[in-house]
Point group: none
Amino acid sequence: MSISDKKVRVLCVEDDPQLRTFLLAQLKARGFQAQAVSDGAQAIDLAAIFQPQLILLDLSLPTLDGLEFLRRLREWSKAPVIVLSARDEELVKIKALDEGADDYLTKPFSLNELLARVRVALRRADETERLRSGTTGSDLQRPVYKCGGENGLVVDFAHRVVRTGGIEVHLTPTEYDLLCELSRNAGKVLTHRELLQRVWGPDYSGENTYLRTFIRHLRRKLEPDPTQPRFLLNELGVGYFVPPSDSQEL
Amino acid sequence: MSISDKKVRVLCVEDDPQLRTFLLAQLKARGFQAQAVSDGAQAIDLAAIFQPQLILLDLSLPTLDGLEFLRRLREWSKAPVIVLSARDEELVKIKALDEGADDYLTKPFSLNELLARVRVALRRADETERLRSGTTGSDLQRPVYKCGGENGLVVDFAHRVVRTGGIEVHLTPTEYDLLCELSRNAGKVLTHRELLQRVWGPDYSGENTYLRTFIRHLRRKLEPDPTQPRFLLNELGVGYFVPPSDSQEL
DNA sequence: AAAATCTTCACACAATTTTCACAACAATGC
DNA sequence: GCATTGTTGTGAAAATTGTGTGAAGATTTT
């Protein structure tokens, strides 16, 4: 979807109700389809559903810190983020920019400047979008992996939540990382070395035992019948893989 | 060329000699390949020759205005531009951003913030670069081997999948390696020694029995009639080969 | 201290590779 | 034609390797 085609979706994550209302109004007046939330946890939810093409982010949020939101978002989304913050300290700025923010404006800021910077961000994003649409590159962008229909497996990258048969399953950090790596490359066999290096780090390329153990844990938690796996599959002598994601709605 | 591969080329267009020297030194100290000019007309020339991956641009220049430079540059280059200016007026900022600048810093600025914003710009540019090379970049080797039309043999190297008559066939690691070696050199007879060395390693050049066994396994799995092979063919006394890949236009 | 998580080990079992003995086949010379 | 020789195809075994398993110890988190 090209940005010139339809209304551009902008998500505004802002604590201060006054500024939030103001931004929302201004954005809408300029032809954007804008939504707003005041809270970081909700913001992740909305980002996954609303799939905004641009995010305006206040750093000081209740429940989930702005930087933490950014970190979580970047696990599955590349949408440009412009940080709006009252804090002018160099360290905070740099942290935010290195954590994945595309721009940083200090309050109080000029509305026109913000809008100009919004145009810059969208200009860049539109370009990469045009490139992406030509390729198969389906990696990332999609906030969930789904497989096996109604009673199947769901990995919700945005919320770091995994469900099987509709029931939420608790995974340990390593278990989740391993499952993530597999479901991000669904349909492709990842070799033992690849998995070990990506999940445990570059020094563990020989420890096949780790993989066996954690694959077993995952199967025990996720497979209806761990004896006959449907999701976590093995290619003997090569590695492991999960089936391709079900083709989905938007 | 990925940005992480080699030194990133940065062009610094700056009037003030003191700041120019300072930026140049800082950039080089941080592993960039940096060049500088003080004049807009020269800058265009140098940009064309040096092909920088990032440009730092002062707005107040002799001979050719910074904005004019930007306009000219954007006619043929998409390299990210970060404007450094003493002027803090809203109108100038907006003009620059809309004219194609990616960021705008007001002097005096913090060096660390500039470097962070440089990283942001390069991060985005690297991403689009990767996409671009993926689409246009001519794959050196064809990603699939196809032979025998609709009900024939297909080897999908990228996915490590083999199909015959449309049905996916499971191959063991050695079987797959052997088939790969043959189909990568389709149409060419590979000697026993060549195959053994490439698939089993340099110490197995005498074990012809291996070849016979695995060719048999492959034929049993892939050939409609293993008695009369269509794909895995033998050149008596020399070695084995597969027919050339079907020409496939897109 | 307790709980959760990660690491390590030894064994059973299944898939794969290696090995072997022999049948079938093509090329050559009689 | 026929036997000879070397090469290729065949089936089935033994040996090896890879994977699934439970469970115990070490480490980290709470």
